[in-house]
Point group: C2
Chain length 291, copies 2
């Protein structure tokens, strides 16, 4: 696996409302085309901080790669095209026949002769196979709860890690915590790229999921739409904290999955939208048996 | 064309950081599956304010429908599935053969035997055919400029029109102006849905584009990524105002297209990122001949 981290910000000049020229940073945005065993899959627009993990997490979340062991190599090269466009060449251990059988079985078992792509309201690579939606609604997430003060601590930690956001704005951040310990933090121009990058990172770091006391918690600056909930569930993470709010479909899914969504999380304040039994309040405050 | 406007907000209860139950609104989010002459095309996640214009604009921006005259009818029905999922049935005047010839010609002329879908960092139906990218870089946008005070006036007008945002948050808004006159304003869970809805509306209201003094200006709450710039250019709109910032690829495209991008536009302040000759400053202030 290469480590083809690209420059994340770009210095520009803009004219302000007083007619003055200001120098500032904006986030980079690059096209990254993924080839899976030489077959072109998709082009993602990304900041380019951790392209290999992004590619791996994308293939994982799109069910194009069933397990980390099937991967042979990921090679990212940013020198290919104009505007810093990149190419990610993914080699797997699967033969073309195996992959076809895998894809057919996946489609057959759900009665879809061809997978139909759903393009969602999410920022970023907003495509998930719609049958995944039905499948995940039946899954059971692991137990796990969060204390009110832990929410405050995670929000505070996440806030101090948004480095590209601070210097250039216009990016989403996403972080994976074990309890209140930040394991990995990612920013990207699309919030789905950010969570996919975490998914790829987690696949390559199985020592965390193997721990008996692993308590995964996601933090995201993005909205809690249905697709964010699905991606979190796919990674068996039962608690998400967001700086933004929730949509109706995100809420319904979270309720069905018993996934705890905490939104509008800022300094010392938040709203718990679902699975409130996972939120532990200090003694003396109302116990959150509703909603 | 139906007018199947759905409910836009949904009342829920959430627990706050003090353990108190609060009643509030969240935006609705529905799956809308588009069938073009009985062929399933895509499922969009949408707020559902103007589904017919959204469908029309989506088909237009994806180049699946070449001109408004090819359309026979759009029928949206929200009563179909669970969770308020909807179906949009689009009937065209094209025969299957005509559509195939059209699609083949489009692909052939650009040397792509099959169109490759690019999924971008944008919120929403982030897919555009990558050849469109190359094609649009060669187009010339119409002349058109904007006065500093007009920017302030448009930002102020747009701010007062975000009705779902005010009551429920978590949506993006988009509006089309003729000079400082608001023609049409849309909110959606995805900012690309919002701009596609405007595109559909504009197609059905050709009296505006036919006006000799039509001065189209877009306002969006979303970031100015490459895809937003492309969609604006496809509609021949040479000026975009955004509450958010710009990404590097968005900026490069805007510079190539001579499209004026005004970002971080809040009360009495903004940054002009590109085509500054289109921004007219009051006398006595520096003329914006840079960048």
């Amino acid at each position: 696996m290469t480590q083809a981290r690209a420059a994340l910000t770009h210095t520009i000049q803009a004219v302000n409302a007083q007619g003055e020229v200001q120098t500032m940073s904006i986030p980079c945005e690059r096209a990254l085309t993924i080839y899976l065993d030489k077959v072109e899959i998709v082009t993602l627009m990304t900041l380019g901080a951790y392209p290999e993990w992004l590619v791996l997490g994308y293939l994982r979340n799109q069910r194009l790669l069933a397990k980390a062991e099937d991967l042979e190599s990921i090679t990212v090269d940013w020198s290919g095209g104009e505007h810093g466009a990149g190419v990610a060449a993914v080699k797997t251990k699967m033969t073309r026949l195996q992959r076809q059988v895998h894809a057919d079985a996946d489609a057959d078992s759900l009665g879809h002769p061809q997978p139909s792509i759903t393009i969602t309201s999410g920022c970023g690579q907003g495509s998930l196979y719609s049958h995944l939606f039905e499948e995940l609604q039946q899954m059971t997430l692991p137990p796990g709860s969060i204390d009110r003060n832990e929410v405050f601590e995670i929000v505070n930690t996440a806030r101090t890690q948004d480095s590209t956001y601070k210097s250039a704005g216009s990016v989403h951040a996403c972080a994976l915590f074990n309890g209140t310990q930040a394991l990995m933090s990612v920013e990207d121009v699309g919030r789905h790229n950010a969570i996919d990058t975490l998914a790829g990172w987690l696949w390559m770091n199985p020592q965390w999921t193997a721990q008996p006391h692993f308590r995964p918690i996601f933090y995201t600056t993005g909205r809690l739409t249905s697709e964010m909930i699905l991606k979190s569930a796919q990674l068996s993470v039962p608690i998400i904290i967001s700086r933004s709010g929730i949509t109706q479909m995100g809420l319904e899914l979270a309720q069905n999955l018993d996934l705890c969504c905490l939104g509008r999380a800022l300094h010392q304040s938040f709203l718990c939208y679902s699975a409130t039994h996972r939120l532990v309040m200090p003694l003396g405050l109302p116990s959150s048996d509703k909603p």
